[in-house]
């Protein structure tokens, strides 16, 4: 079975190379410069020009995934634009259909490779099944991981941001202080301060007439950040009721720092069980491999 398979692969590569040598020049895509003359291009050449911008897996799988997603909405519903936004990606560059396509490519691809290799080593198929499942869930799990990481960064930056805004808000007003601090943090971090970047977008919305607190609530919803949502709501009601904004900021800053302390205690309490799991799952097998098995092998050798 192995030799015919290898022979078939070699023959197909040879035939493909021959065909490409003959028809290659006709298959070549138009150059990017030709985009300027796109109006005069025949439709099929224009389509080829546009599709070369897409990665291969997207060209092949995205249409299939799109149709599957339409037929089976329950399968595709696990990915939506909000999930992608929360992970810090732009849905315009990574669409839900593409994420779904990536799931199918990984799951299906691993399964296909497993099936192909099972012709040589039968046990590979058994390994390929869980690996294909892992590949299928990987894109969504990766998005979830990015979301958690992003939320943790935003939550970590929030108390220090409030610590900077609070004294300045007393002097120059909340909106002005928020704008100044977010601008300064954005520039000093070279655009890496995530919260400053988000707040700047809220300030920009405020600049074109939106309510700052509503805009802050919007970014809190987009990032699924409850602490920021509560802060924006509290600031909004404080402004309506005429309560001091500084007290609200101080209150929230204190609450956020208490939460930090609680999170630290919570994660510290989880370390012992995790270390026990590492002992049982890693060091014990290592003990077996380094000590028990050699003793056993040595004893059998002596017998």
């Amino acid at each position: 079975m192995l030799l015919p398979l290898l022979g078939a692969i070699a023959v197909s590569i040879a035939v493909f190379s021959l065909l490409m040598a003959i028809f290659g020049p006709w298959l070549a895509s138009p150059r990017r410069l030709e985009a300027a003359r796109a109006v005069a291009l025949p439709r099929e050449r224009y389509e080829r020009l546009v599709t070369t911008e897409q990665p291969w897996w997207e060209r092949i799988v995205a249409p299939v995934a799109g149709r599957l997603a339409q037929r089976m909405p329950s399968l595709a519903s696990q990915i939506n634009e909000a999930t992608i936004v929360r992970a810090g990606l732009d849905p315009a560059s990574v669409s839900p259909a593409e994420v779904y396509a990536a799931k199918l490519v990984l799951g299906g691809g691993i399964l296909l490779v497993g099936v192909a290799l099972s012709a040589v080593v039968p046990i590979v198929f058994l390994i390929a099944l869980p690996a294909a499942f892992a590949g299928y869930v990987f894109p969504t799990e990766y998005l979830a991981y990015r979301t958690r990481k992003r939320q943790a960064v935003l939550l970590g930056e929030l108390p220090d941001f409030l610590a900077l805004v609070r004294p300045l808000a007393v002097k120059s007003g909340l909106e002005h202080a928020v704008a100044e601090v977010s601008d300064a943090l954005h520039e000093s971090s070279g655009g890496r301060h995530l919260l400053a970047e988000q707040v700047r977008s809220a300030v920009a919305a405020y600049g074109i007439g939106s309510n700052l607190f509503d805009a802050l609530q919007d970014i809190a919803t987009a990032a699924d950040l409850e602490a920021l949502d509560e802060l924006a709501a509290s600031l909004g009601s404080a402004r309506r009721l005429g309560k001091g904004v500084s007290e609200v900021l101080a209150e929230h800053e204190r609450a956020l720092r208490d939460d930090e302390q609680n999170r630290l205690l919570g994660s510290a309490s989880m370390v012992q069980p995790k270390l026990a799991a590492i002992l049982a799952g890693i060091y014990l097998p290592e003990f077996v491999l380094l000590v028990i098995v050699p003793l056993f092998v040595g004893a059998i050798g002596r017998i």
Partner: protein, 291 residues
């Protein structure tokens, strides 16, 4: 049956190749630009990391080290067996960066203790009147850690060299690995950018004192918790290799199959080394308490 299978395989492979064939007319410049982009990003990241670690090493040299380390460790692993060479290569890929981060973390934690002291000194100087350079000088004077002292002295020097303070502060802010000092620099950047008078700066910096103390409290609790747990993790990581070494020295015959047989060299030893590395890495991650 085999003929059908071979035919199906040929069709499948042919279709796959046709699907994967690069349809771009000019892939070369893109590939070159891609490689250049990766190199530029790596250099930029290396520059940041070296600046944070205050290492006067050229980013290109650091990049070369990052390339050389996996090869060196791979060769060392090769001396024992091929799986160990692969493991050495993988570890070498990350080792230089991990080491620099470890060094930076230790120094940054020590430097962070200076933040409340520096803040207090600046508030006191601002309350007594003066201008921004006086605040920087007071901070440099109060600082005990060499990094903090050097940074504030640099700000002062650049101020007297007629550089805009917010620009100098922004550049030095990027070197701050500790949260508290970053907060101090952020405050100074905001104050200088918005041209706040020194009296206002005193109020702002004074209000930051609570935040800095709170951050320090959390960081110290994390460090204290983490220290005890890391002792346990270190003990766990050393027990099995220690026992193995003891057996090797006390009675080599007991563990001889690990080195003297193919099964030992190609299966037992690489698997055990992989488990040991996985154990150390996981323990390190688990005991790193950060909020």
């Amino acid at each position: 049956m085999e003929l059908i299978g071979a035919f199906a395989a040929a069709v499948a492979v042919g279709s796959l190749i046709l699907a994967l064939v690069p349809r771009k007319a000019d892939p070369a410049p893109r590939l070159e630009a891609g490689i250049r982009g990766i190199l530029d990003r790596s250099l930029e990241r290396s520059r940041d990391e070296l600046a944070k670690a205050r290492l006067s090493l050229d980013p290109r040299t650091f990049l070369a080290l990052q390339v050389a380390a996996p090869m060196l460790l791979g060769l060392l692993g090769w001396a024992l067996s091929f799986p160990l060479a692969v493991l050495g290569f993988v570890v070498g890929l990350f080792a230089p960066r991990w080491y620099v981060r470890y060094l930076t973390g230790i120094e940054a934690r020590a430097a962070a203790d200076d933040a409340p002291r520096v803040l207090r000194a600046m508030v006191n100087r601002a309350a007594a009147g003066g201008v921004y350079p006086d605040l920087f000088a007071a901070a440099a004077e109060a600082a005990r850690h060499r990094w903090v002292k050097a940074d504030f002295n640099e700000v002062l020097g650049r101020y007297f060299a007629s550089e805009a303070p917010s620009e100098a502060l922004s550049e030095i802010r990027r070197r701050q690995a500790g949260r508290n000092l970053a907060l101090v620099y952020d405050a100074l950047i905001v104050l200088t950018r918005t041209h706040q008078p020194v009296k206002a700066a005193a109020e702002v910096l004074s209000a930051l004192g609570d935040a800095a103390r709170s951050n320090q409290r959390v960081a110290r609790s994390a460090a204290a918790e983490s220290r005890g747990l890391r002792m346990q993790a270190t003990f766990l990581a050393l027990v099995i290799p220690g026992l193995f070494l003891y057996l090797m020295l006390a009675n080599h015959d007991l563990v001889a199959p690990v080195f003297d047989t193919g099964f030992g060299r190609f299966v037992l030893l690489p698997a055990a080394v992989c488990l040991e590395f996985a154990g150390i890495w996981l323990s390190w991650r688990v005991t790193r308490l950060e909020v």
